[in-house]
């Protein structure tokens, strides 16, 4: 087998494995969210399907697939059908740049192969995330507009305004991280945190990034595009069965990717402090690093759910005031402080 063919095969295999893992994690998260909400609200949560409710996501999936697929008569057919796909594709694309481990070398069919635990190591790195994540909002806007329903329309309007407002502080807090690492590659950002994690060096930037990530993923306390009490279901009011499920999968994939990015940008990615001192065998070290990445990411996914079931929703004007009048100046201040820190030390 030639080296070129082997490289292509490995790359294709990595894509399949990573996307399947993300989708399986989404399934687990739907159960986790309901279990955690039950725990926080002092009730059981789903516990009838399988052992302690463990097969609930499978039951939900079967339900979504077998439900009647309704297309209301008043919708703009093309836009209505396109919207779930437009929401889902960028959500699955963004995970491609997240490094979830170091690289390892091994021999296969007489060739030396370098397996990197990251789908693509792009030169533009984190900018790829910023630009693809900003496309996700089209799913919400198109869904809201194509549904031809005032509640959906309001949800779409809110999501577009919210996304634009919070992309700016998010991008500015990323700039401060990039200033420290001197590179846009996420692997370099992870390597840069070998001594000290960015959460210590960038406490303000970390808070801004997390708040903006909550707003970008439409999670409480910023879930105004789908505020049930005001907008029925927001942009997905008119959707049912698998099309509704696509929006859900997109939301949870975004949640996974932003948790992974919080880990990568501020919590040292896959690094475990002091692991190289133990001089473990290389495969064990790699395994522990990937495990560390998963644990850190899981914590931030838990944080998302914790916040969702703890805080009330913001009012729309409060959301805008926070975004433009507090977070934007603070993010700019953070850049100035980081620049001064780099110049001084």
């Amino acid at each position: 087998m030639s080296l070129e063919l082997l490289t292509i095969l490995i790359a294709a295999l990595k894509v399949v494995v990573v996307i399947s893992l993300v989708l399986v994690t989404v399934m687990i998260l739907t159960l986790m969210e309901r279990k955690i909400s039950g725990w926080i609200q002092n009730r059981y949560g789903p516990n009838r399907v399988g052992w302690g409710g463990i097969l609930q996501p499978v039951a939900d999936g079967v339900k979504f697939f077998t439900k009647e697929d309704i297309i209301p008569g008043h919708v703009d057919r093309f836009l209505y059908l396109m919207a779930p796909a437009i929401a889902l594709v960028p959500a699955l694309m963004t995970f491609a740049i997240v490094p979830f481990g170091d690289q390892m070398n091994f021999f296969l069919f007489g060739h030396e192969i370098t397996l990197q635990f990251q789908l693509v190591d792009l030169n533009v790195g984190i900018l790829y995330f910023v630009s693809i994540a900003s496309l996700g909002v089209y799913g919400l806007i198109v869904g809201g507009f194509g549904s031809n329903n005032k509640y959906s329309m309001l949800g779409g309007l809110r999501s577009s305004a919210q996304m634009i407002s919070y992309e700016i502080p998010m991008g500015l807090s990323i700039i401060a991280v990039v200033m420290l690492s001197g590179s846009l590659r996420l692997n370099d950002v992870v390597m840069d945190q070998a001594g000290l994690w960015n959460v210590v060096r960038q406490p303000l930037g970390f808070i801004i990034f997390v708040v903006a990530a909550f707003a970008e993923t439409n999670r409480l306390p910023f879930d105004l595009p789908e505020a049930e009490q005001e907008l029925v279901g927001g942009y997905h009011t008119e959707y049912s069965s698998m099309k509704f499920s696509s929006f859900m999968i997109a939301e949870y994939s975004n949640l996974i990717t932003s948790s992974a990015l919080i880990t990568t940008l501020y919590f040292g990615g896959w690094q475990v402090p002091g692991l190289e001192l133990l001089s473990l065998p290389i495969w064990l070290e790699q395994f522990l690093q990937i495990l560390a990445f998963l644990v850190k990411t899981s914590f931030f996914i838990f944080l998302y759910m914790w916040v969702r079931w703890t805080f009330p929703r913001f009012r729309y004007d409060q959301l805008m005031n926070l975004g433009w009048k507090s977070m934007l100046p603070l993010a700019l201040l953070n850049i100035v402080l980081t620049g001064a820190w780099i110049a001084y030390f």
Binding site: V124, Y138, V142, G144, G156
Partner: protein, 186 residues
Amino acid sequence: MVELILFWIFALLAVGGAFGVVVHPNPAKSALLLVLTFFALAGEYVLLMAHFIAIVHVAVYAGAIMVLFLFVIMLLNVPEETRTSRLWGIMRYAGFTLAILLFAEIGYFGFKGFQTAYVQETDLGTVERIGQALFSKYVLPFEIASILLLVAMLGALYLSKRKLEIVGDGKTAPAGKKTEEVLVEE
């Protein structure tokens, strides 16, 4: 070979999308087709090894500016265009003539350039190279552009923050405006 196939896919998407923007009667769908065009153009940039331009193109045009366009179109609830036949009749001839002239011009110079152009370096469009060029050779135009943006921003701020005076019956009006233009306070 793969690059050629990708080039044609992106090129057809870009030209088809741009054509759709012009002829589609529904403004919201026109805007979405423009997003498709931007995306296809970004694909062409990637093929030209200009990764940074491609990503920034998607982030700024598709991700931010077009979202605002769609926001405004949805907010105003713009109805589908209705074609006034008289205008269409006059515009048809002038428009097509100009379009053919423009295409001939671009095609001619593009073809002339194509015969001599070749990609000299493969890392031409990477972040490092663009950063070096912007902060050394093109630092003056770069700074001037930033001042231009600042001025535009201040202008927008000034226009949206016009002083409001209280007029008679609790309504407000911009300073120095006639009563016809009194805004109803919200």
